[in-house]
């Protein structure tokens, strides 16, 4: 019975999501970015980004839509390649943060007592060190490169999720259906994973859509500090280049990277809002 209710909630949510045209457009944008990223990762597009396509610092033209960089490489190819980096940073950070955040949050919320104390202590400790400092020091210590960025972002972004899940699980624990599941002899883990977690998935989804953009923006800052991705073009390094180029009037690299970032951040934001509105039962009355 629980499952049926579950299904209808999702169906309902999806229906509402598709009715909101901005959310739909955002979803399409996000999917398009994902597609570009996958194609870039597979080497279908922009695999030859390092090739010189013309003279250095050419402004946008019909031949080079986004212009060329100082080495004569196509800025368009770099933006596409950078999309892959940005999306992979977001994805990897989520893949690290979700298991940690969800497991710890669920355990803390469900069991309470000393487990809760321990986990609360853990995330309080983590969140009391400024994020940017943790990010910088972890990347510095892991020796840079994209994996360091993944791990640093993953290790800093589980905290919020953990806190949210904990609160939500606490609420659900007392609900009837969980009590009922207990009565028919479900073990703790069974109750937690089969009954409670499916009911808090929306938190994960909403949070992830927001974490994604946080990750993308963090990559830019890390690149500015020279701690970002190496040997591959990323939006961060492109914006970083602009620091030196802008005074020569070379604006297209900055503009392209900024626009690429703006679009996806905007899409994630609107999508996150829409998801929230359609998945969060509290707002159902809207």
């Amino acid at each position: 019975m629980e499952l049926i209710k579950e299904n209808s909630l999702w169906k309902d949510a999806f229906k509402r999501l598709t009715k909101d045209k901005w959310a739909l457009i955002s979803l399409i944008i996000v999917l398009a970015y994902a597609l570009v990223a996958i194609m870039a990762a597979l080497g279908i597009v922009a695999s030859d980004w390092a090739r010189e396509v013309g003279a250095g610092n050419l402004p946008p033209s019909s031949e080079h839509w986004f212009g060329t960089d100082m080495f004569g490489r196509s800025v368009l190819a770099k933006v596409v390649r950078g999309t892959q980096i940005a999306m992979s940073v977001g994805l990897a950070a989520s893949l690290i943060a979700i298991p940690i955040g969800v497991t710890l949050g669920a355990l803390a919320g469900y069991f309470g007592g000393w487990v809760d104390d321990l986990i609360t202590w853990l995330y309080t400790t983590f969140s009391s060190i400024p994020n940017i400092m943790l990010l910088i020091s972890i990347t510095m210590i892991l020796g840079k490169g994209i994996f360091a960025v993944y791990i640093a972002l993953g290790l800093t972004s589980w905290v919020t999720l953990c806190r949210l899940i904990r609160g939500e699980v606490m609420k659900h624990k007392e609900r009837e259906y969980v009590q009922a599941a207990g009565a028919i002899g479900g073990g703790h883990l069974r109750k937690l994973f089969l009954h409670i977690l499916p009911n808090v998935t929306h938190i994960i989804i909403i949070n992830t859509s927001l974490q994604f953009q946080f990750a993308i923006k963090s990559e830019v800052i890390l690149s500015y500090l020279g701690l970002g991705v190496q040997g591959e073009p990323s939006w961060g390094t492109m914006i970083d280049d602009a620091k030196l180029e802008l005074s020569r009037g070379v604006w297209w690299q900055l503009a392209s990277a900024t626009f690429a970032m703006f679009l996806v951040v905007l899409a994630f934001n609107l999508l996150g809002d829409a998801l929230r509105d359609s998945l969060d039962p509290k707002l159902k009355g809207k």
């Binding site: 390092a50 010189e52 250095g56 100082m70 080495f71 510095m140 840079k144 500090l225 020279g226 701690l227 190496q230 040997g231 390094t237 970083d240 280049d241 620091k243 030196l244 180029e245 802008l246 005074s247 020569r248």
Partner: protein
């Protein structure tokens, strides 16, 4: 909402009310330091910019003549050049009389006392104090008789005993002292002109203790009562500065340039120096262009904004009376191989990489064609670099490079692993290695860029954990030894020979040459050293760069100077010119 708009208008009002106006009443000059200053202890003034700041308040026994080129030492706190014994080991110095330290609560009655020979002895000993771990210690390491022993003796003791006399460092009377060297050290006098050996007062060191670095008490032309971490350091003229005169002779042509207009006048010529600390390139440039600063060291991207491709000052700056100074620097840039890596024992590979490096493109892209391709480690302008010498591997020849690469056993780069080049993590460094990567790819060599914070890079180099790294080396003093030492085997990591290059023949000649006094024979040996490594190409040799400065019309007496920590006392400002020209900004 109302209160908010009120707040806003209040803020805007404040902004306009507070915008600062130019100051025409005081004879002040405004300079820029592109790096943050950590403190004012001379023994740790290891980089150029902290040296420049220390040089405004402190002085050494010698200084470089502000006008004469090639660089010439002249006595400063010493009365004359020292008397050197025949074996070149014993130096006897006379100290100038009547030199006063700045007034400071460290002294009795708050009045600065006279500087004497004891202070010189004390200041040099401080450099060796094991408790202080001075950055400048390398300068005197194993040079002065008894100094190393003294350092070792107190390294595990509670406190260092400065009263213990050292054999090689003795005061003769109040105004003279004697230094005995362990072995000839022809660069010794240069060492005494460097910020490391500036003279400090013992009272100040003891009185301020750990805070000494914030309370510079020197003998110099300017006073800074207290140093604070801030965006501007303000120095005022030292009213009790001794009678020191602006030089009346200089290099040929200085007269025409107006550099001798103040000849014979008592220095310093200005009342105040403001040093703005601005690290990013855009605000530096804009500040100068807004006439907030009088002198600008033009770097990287701003070069294009300053000069035309013909290397002339752009018209818009000329109009405002801005002057351009372009002078070659005593430095060398390079991509060092780690010679402990087996692949780099292969000379043909090294040669191929040198030939594949597109220096012309690089020079255009990063230096606006102002740098000079280096033929060896020693920059022109130092004895030891023949003008007509041309390194056969310093040219762009892809075909030859490919041929040599094949001969090296890696036809088309096959069989060669990807080489990681370590560099700093700032934008320009990254782009420079990206350019190198692009050059090498043309002959089939794959390069990875390894970006590091400064400590990481230093660590990788000192621990030999790199394949290649890129670096620029600037002269500490004008002697080729300072550059050739980069390839001397005993200097290998953690020393300055980060390439870990070892060549017994080179070392043998180096050992002899560097303890000789300046002479035609020594120059010949330096030339031989410089040229012998040229064929061996221990690095992918880069450039000798050019310093580019812009000076406002009203800044007088500026002449490019490599070792410029003592230069600021000679600068002057023409307020009339400033008043007229300021309207154009």
């Amino acid at each position: 909402m109302k209160s908010l708009s009120l707040l806003f208008s209040f803020m805007l009002l404040m902004v306009f009310a507070c915008s600062k106006q130019n100051n025409f009443d005081e004879r002040e000059i405004n300079l820029i330091s592109p790096e943050k200053i950590a403190g004012f202890d001379p023994i740790n003034a290891s980089d150029r910019y902290s040296g420049n700041e220390a040089g405004k308040v402190y002085e050494g026994l010698f200084e470089f003549h502000p006008l004469k080129r090639p660089y010439e030492l002249m006595p400063n706190l010493a009365e004359a050049l020292p008397i050197v014994s025949a074996d070149g080991l014993t130096y006897t110095f006379k100290i100038r009389k009547g030199v006063l330290f700045h007034d400071s609560p460290a002294f009795q009655g708050g009045l600065g006392r006279e500087m004497k020979a004891d202070d010189v002895v004390y200041s040099i000993k401080r450099l060796a104090d094991p408790k202080l771990n001075a950055k400048g210690w390398w300068l005197l390491d194993d040079r002065i008789a008894g100094l190393n022993e003294w350092k070792t003796k107190y390294s595990s003791a509670e406190a260092t005993n400065y009263d213990e006399e050292i054999e090689g460092l003795k005061k003769i009377d109040y105004y003279s002292l004697q230094v005995k060297l362990k072995k000839p050290y022809p660069q010794f006098l240069y060492a005494l002109a460097m910020p490391y050996t500036f003279i400090v007062a013992k009272e100040a060191v003891t009185h301020f203790g750990k805070e000494f670095l914030n309370y510079p008490v020197g003998t110099g032309p300017f006073i800074l009562p207290k140093f604070e971490q801030s965006s501007m350091i303000t120095y005022v003229r030292n009213p009790k500065f001794r009678e020191k005169l602006y030089p009346s002779e200089g290099e040929e042509g200085d007269d025409k340039l107006g550099l001798l207009a103040d000849a014979g006048k008592k220095i310093p010529l200005v009342d105040k120096i403001n040093v703005h600390i601005i690290t990013e390139s855009q605000p530096k440039w804009l500040s100068f262009m807004k006439a907030k600063d009088d002198l600008l060291e033009v770097k990287d991207v701003n070069i294009q904004q300053a000069i035309t491709p013909e290397k002339d000052l752009k018209g818009e700056h000329k109009e405002k009376g801005v002057r351009l100074f372009m002078n070659p620097v005593l430095d060398v840039t390079y991509f060092a191989f780690n010679h402990e890596e087996p692949i780099f024992k292969n000379k043909k590979l090294r040669q191929a990489m040198n030939l594949a490096y597109d220096r012309v493109g690089y020079n255009k892209m990063f230096h606006e064609n102002t740098a000079f391709e280096a033929n060896g480690p020693t920059p022109p302008g130092l004895a030891g670099q023949r003008k007509e010498f041309k390194n056969p591997y310093i040219k762009y020849d892809i075909e030859l490079a490919k041929k040599l690469l094949a001969e090296a056993g890696y036809p088309g780069g096959k069989g060669l692993p990807t080489i990681t080049v370590q560099t700093r993590s700032d934008t320009i460094s990254r782009q420079q290695v990206e350019f190198f990567e692009k050059s090498m790819r043309k002959i089939g060599i794959n390069i990875d860029v390894g970006m590091n914070t400064w400590p990481e890079l230093v660590n990788k180099v000192t621990k030999k954990q790199h394949q290649m790294y890129t670096m620029a080396w600037g002269a500490d003093y004008p002697d080729a030894e300072n550059f050739l030492g980069l390839l001397y085997c005993p200097n290998q990591s953690p020393g300055s020979n980060g390439a870990n290059y070892c060549n017994p023949e080179f070392d043998a000649v180096y050992k002899v040459a560097t303890i000789m006094q300046d002479s035609p024979e020594r120059t010949a040996m330096y030339e031989k050293l410089n040229e012998s490594v040229a064929f061996d190409v221990p690095w992918v040799i880069g450039f000798h760069r050019t310093d580019i400065y812009l000076a406002q019309a009203w800044l007088k007496n500026f002449k490019h100077m490599e070792f410029n920590h003592s230069q600021f006392q000679y600068l002057n400002v023409d307020l009339e010119v400033k008043k007229q020209l300021i309207k154009k900004f």
